[in-house]
């Protein structure tokens, strides 16, 4: 019994990381109506940038974010304005195929620069310390920090989207980029900022991932699939839905792994497909607008 409780608690904590993967993807889709196949590779890119920053400055992983985060923001802004803005329109092919091509380019550039070796960021004692709840039930400090970061980010993003001038501009541009221009909104700039914001979240996700587990240039697509599944399970309706989606995925994976280690990832995918069968619009579908 306590073993299962432990499995579920660990799954919920894992879900925090998946929610971090997913919020950026959700924002990119929410504002630009763009599904970014490069998303997973950008998470890995952020992890490698953090690795370089840590090697050169000696910062710890958390502190490295003060450099990694702005770098990813800038990459996002120019990626959107220089390339992705030109793919937007009624045709689905260009954004899909362009982000797919970019994904292969980023993976292979990372492979060329950093080799296929597995890497990990060292955060010190925090990695292994945990809070003992009862016998056989403990919560790792670092996974807890990850989950709390996800929750904090979602709260901040909701404030940004619902309460600020920029947030209104994001929503208005997402609704109708043409009419938004009549409000004095430069939609291309707004899209650039949204991608920058999303990659800022990717920076945090990348560092959290890199402290928690090994990474190498090839793991991007797997992270994309987790992020995607969390967003779809959540139902595109709200960022909280995305958090729930991430947690469901994390719990499913942990239960799968407990049955048989080979079933860990498979169980996550199957949970996603089952939800797709019974709730094709996800658990918290979008109610307003289209």
């Amino acid at each position: 019994m306590i073993e299962w409780a432990n499995t579920i608690i660990q799954g919920i904590l894992t879900g925090g990381l998946y929610a971090m993967f997913a919020t950026g993807l959700a924002i990119i889709f929410g504002v630009m109506r763009l599904v970014n196949i490069t998303h997973g590779d950008l998470i890995v890119l952020a992890a490698f940038i953090a690795m370089v920053v840590i090697e050169t400055t000696g910062f710890n992983p958390f502190l490295s974010l003060i450099i990694v985060l702005p770098i990813m923001f800038i990459i996002g802004y120019f990626l959107q304005r220089g390339i992705l803005n030109y793919t937007l329109g009624d045709d689905l092919l260009p954004p899909l195929l362009v982000t797919f091509g970019l994904s292969i380019v980023i993976q292979n550039v990372l492979l060329e620069v950093f080799s296929a070796d597995s890497q990990r960021l060292k955060a010190g004692a925090i990695e292994t310390s945990s809070i003992q709840l009862t016998d056989g039930l403990s919560i790792g400090i670092f996974p807890l920090i990850t989950l709390l970061t996800a929750v904090t980010m979602i709260i901040l993003l909701q404030q940004l989207f619902n309460r600020t001038r920029l947030g209104r501009a994001f929503r208005a541009t997402s609704d109708d980029p043409t009419t938004a221009q009549l409000m004095g909104i430069n939609h291309k700039h707004i899209f650039g900022l949204a991608m920058g914001l999303a990659l800022g979240l990717v920076a945090i996700a990348g560092v959290l991932m890199a402290v928690r587990s090994n990474f190498d240039p090839s793991i991007g697509p797997a992270k994309l699939l987790y992020a995607f599944e969390a967003v779809i399970i959540g139902g595109l309706g709200s960022l909280w839905g995305t958090l729930i989606g991430g947690i469901i995925l994390g719990v499913a994976q942990n239960i799968g792994a407990k049955i048989d280690p080979g079933w860990q990832i498979l169980a996550g995918h199957i949970a996603f497909l089952i939800i797709l069968v019974f709730r094709p619009n996800g658990l918290f579908p979008r109610t307003r607008d289209d």
Binding site: L97, F228, F272
Partner: protein, 345 residues
């Protein structure tokens, strides 16, 4: 457009699909086909093997192009059917004693049946999400087949020597048989796609690609047409997959359900020209021409391909074949109906 018609008083017009280029093309095609059919009789072994690979990659490209370029169904998970086709062939030959060559089309048919419930799942995801949804399904097969111990689990399985020998006793005979099968598959694939697109279904498909909303209002049964394309592409892809793993003689989940199958095919179709039959052919030729000299630079080759695909998609979304047709009005496989105006001026 209207100005053009008004200014040149049209006396008569007819709807044509054949072009002079296509007539010359069919003669050249026939000669080429004769050369290719006779090739195992005089070609060397390494080239025969290379041709087999070119044939199945081209056939895969045609199938993906049918799906994405004509049906608007951008799947990143067609490796699901390549792998399923391969495994089905192994099961049919090993467990049911079916002849290796006959097992190829049979694998395709079985996988077409399997594609129905898959379609039921992935068709719930629209547009962009469909793409990643198909990828998840392919991953499920990859991870799932790794759990099946009777098929060798994660390390895979080889085709028993008796089955290999049943195709032909000699190695040369085997390779020729596989060569002709591969040639038949690729010619049949192109022919079927060509005639499918010239049929009424083809018109419906073009309408879907051009505008989902418009074709709905035209009364085209969108969902049915898409489902048909999806199932047919599953049949074709699985048939090719069965052929691929008959040539490789060994199958494992990570080779069978490898995303790189789809990556390669997407690059070929995008660079060659999506939405045409000629595009994938041109793309395949370019892919193999570049691969031979660049294969030593594995990573850089992929970076180059990826970057080229991105640039093509941004600057010339009709691909290299599109650039050629715009400049020379050349069509080898005219699937579009074109209005020819006779004017007296």
């Amino acid at each position: 457009m209207t100005d053009y018609i008004q200014n040149n008083s049209v006396t008569s017009f007819k709807v044509v699909r054949s072009t002079p280029a296509s007539r010359i093309g069919s003669i050249i095609g026939l000669i080429l086909l004769i050369i290719l059919v006779s090739f195992p009789n005089w070609g060397d072994r390494a080239t025969i093997r290379l041709f087999v690979e070119i044939f199945y990659i081209l056939a895969l490209a045609q199938m993906w192009n049918l799906l994405a370029g004509f049906g608007g169904l951008v799947s990143v998970g067609q490796q699901a059917f390549i792998g399923l086709g391969g495994y089905t062939l192994f099961i049919l030959t090993i467990n049911f004693g079916i002849g290796a060559i006959w097992a190829i089309p049979l694998s395709g048919l079985i996988c077409a049946l399997i594609s129905l419930p898959i379609a039921f799942l992935v068709f719930r995801l629209r547009g962009h999400y469909f793409a990643i949804g198909t990828w998840v399904v392919a991953e499920v097969f990859l991870l799932g087949f790794a759990q099946i111990q009777s098929l060798g689990g994660g390390s895979g399985k080889s085709l028993p020597i008796a089955i290999v020998k049943s195709i032909s006793d000699s190695r040369a005979g085997r390779e020729a048989a596989i060569y002709w099968t591969a040639l038949f598959v690729v010619v049949a694939t192109i022919a079927i796609v060509y005639f499918l697109l010239r049929s009424r279904h083809g018109l419906a498909l073009t309408a879907i690609r051009d505008s989902e909303e418009a074709s709905n209002s035209l009364g085209v049964d969108n969902f049915k047409a898409k489902l048909l394309v999806y199932i047919f592409a599953a049949f074709g892809t699985a048939t090719i997959g069965a052929l691929i793993f008959l040539t490789k003689l060994r199958i494992s989940p990570s080779a069978a359900f490898d995303i790189n199958w789809t990556t390669t095919v997407i690059f070929i179709v995008v660079i060659g020209g999506i939405g045409t039959i000629e595009g994938p052919i041109l793309g395949t030729i370019i892919y193999f021409l570049l691969r031979e000299p660049l294969s030593d630079f594995g990573t850089w080759y992929l970076i180059l391909l990826g970057a080229t695909a991105v640039i093509v998609m941004l600057k010339a979304p009709q691909g290299i074949w599109g650039i050629i047709t715009n400049r020379f009005d050349l069509r080898l496989f005219p699937v579009q109906r074109r209005l020819k105006l006779k004017t007296d001026k």
